[in-house]
């Protein structure tokens, strides 16, 4: 039932899943910070736009967003899409979706920093950018790590949604094997791999959390 070729195919899929996972974090973590800035901006149109964006990203299914990002350019602009775009669409959809969640996490963290920290920084002559990167952001990281961990663990599992665009990641491949074998064993094995993946992610995040725990407020 479980043979080497099944494991090999699933592991091949797992590599694609990991690629989606890493690329999504790479783009969505900084993008989320920019969205958070927009969401907290004093410029009303930008703030309103970011609110709508976050609301839509959180309020509609990620699977639907994947489909819209992939087929949208064709239906809206009549653009002909290369086969590479399938993977790019997945990364775009995941990144803009997770950026919305991360933006709200950043915002919560930034708003939790006492006003006195900004005042002390100002009196010491730090500029706005210096204040943010030297004084505020390191403290924000510490506050938000537990919430970010939750999102990152969810992302590991959400990569399986890319099956709707037939990306050869682990879940897509497990489904194909299961259909061919008329057995759910491949899906169960994939489940074990997802679990191990997340155990590793949780371990890394716990270490990160410990590294930021050298001080308390």
């Amino acid at each position: 039932m479980i043979d080497g070729s099944m494991i090999g195919m699933l592991l091949g899929g797992l590599i694609t899943s990991i690629e989606i996972f890493l690329l999504t974090l790479l783009f969505s973590l900084p993008l989320g910070l920019l969205v958070a800035f927009g969401r907290m901006s004093g410029f009303a149109p930008l703030k309103w736009l970011m609110k709508v964006y976050i609301s839509i990203m959180r309020g509609t299914p990620l699977m639907l967003q994947l489909i819209v990002v992939f087929f949208g350019p064709y239906y809206i602009f009549g653009a002909s899409l290369s086969s590479d775009y399938r993977f790019i669409a997945v990364i775009i959809a995941f990144s803009i979706n997770y950026a919305a969640y991360f933006a709200e996490i950043y915002r919560g963290g930034i708003e939790a920093i006492p006003k006195g920290q900004y005042e002390a920084a100002q009196v010491l002559g730090y500029g706005k950018v210096q204040t943010f990167f030297i004084i505020i952001l390191p403290q924000v990281f510490r506050i938000i790590i537990p919430s970010v961990t939750n999102e990152v663990i969810t992302l590991v599992k959400d990569t399986s949604l890319s099956f709707v665009l037939a990306i050869p990641e682990m879940f897509t491949i497990a489904k194909q094997i299961a259909a061919a074998d008329a057995s759910i064993v491949a899906l169960l094995v994939a489940g074990v791999f997802y679990y191990v993946f997340n155990v590793v992610v949780a371990f890394v995040m716990a270490r990160l959390e410990r590294r930021y725990n050298y001080y308390s407020n």
Binding site: P114, G116, A120, Q122, V123, G125, I134, Y214, Y215
Partner: protein, 227 residues
């Protein structure tokens, strides 16, 4: 020669006028204590002078460097004591690292904290934290040091720790403006005292002049401390 000149300063929050036409001068080497009841505008005055609030009218004439010591310290919790003190001189004033570290160690020694340079603020008592924040302000080599109720968050024992430090600075002719509720301390350390009430300067002069004033509001306020 006056180092700081404030003329006809006005400040309101919404409809409430907090500072009504405040004028004062601080000479080089002078210690000015500002006293008065809560809500009289003392802290707002200090916050306008230090640019933490924007005044609505009047002129603040001062071009030098200043330091501000807050009531609740506002140390950076993620930086060690040493980094709290040295980071702004290095990153903002672009001074030489070795020189900054040397002067920071000298300041810590002066504050009796020479063994705390690697500690984090949460590992220190309130009095120690406030001494670090004084060292942080002094490390910028300010022309004037402002204190906004520096002992209000501390118990009496820790308060005296801080008052001793400020007295030592006064003995070194550091120019200081101190908003405080410590009347005995103000009387001992100040060259000049300003008594504020309801956004006005009610009384101004040497400690002896102010503390023997006939002004009824001043007497009423002092009575609460000496009865």
């Amino acid at each position: 020669m006056s180092l700081l000149k404030v003329k006809n300063l006005k400040k309101s929050f919404d409809e409430e006028e907090v500072l009504k036409d405040i004028s004062l001068e601080v000479e080089k080497g002078e210690v000015l204590c500002i006293i008065g009841p809560s809500g009289s505008g003392k802290s707002t005055l200090l916050r306008c002078i230090t640019d933490l609030e924007q005044e609505d009218g009047g002129v603040i004439d001062f071009d030098g460097t200043f330091g501000l010591v807050f009531q609740d310290f506002n140390l950076f919790p993620h930086h060690s004591v040493m980094k709290n003190i040295t980071n702004a001189p290095i990153k903002v004033q672009k001074r030489d690292k070795t020189e900054v570290f040397q002067s920071a160690r000298a300041l810590l020694k002066k504050m009796g904290l020479e063994d705390k340079e690697d500690a984090y603020p949460h590992e220190l008592s309130g009095g120690q934290q406030q001494r670090v924040s004084i060292a942080r302000a002094l490390a910028m080599n300010p022309d004037i040091l402002f204190f906004d109720e520096p002992t209000s968050a501390l118990d009496p024992e820790l308060t005296s720790e801080i008052l001793v430090v400020i007295r030592d600075l006064a003995a070194e002719n550091m120019t200081m403006v101190i908003v405080t509720h410590e009347m005995t301390f103000a009387r001992n350390v100040a060259d000049k005292i300003i008594f504020m009430d309801d956004g006005h300067i009610v009384e101004e002069g040497t400690p002896d002049e102010v503390f023997s004033s006939d002004n009824s509001r001043m007497r009423e306020f002092l009575g609460k401390f000496y009865d």
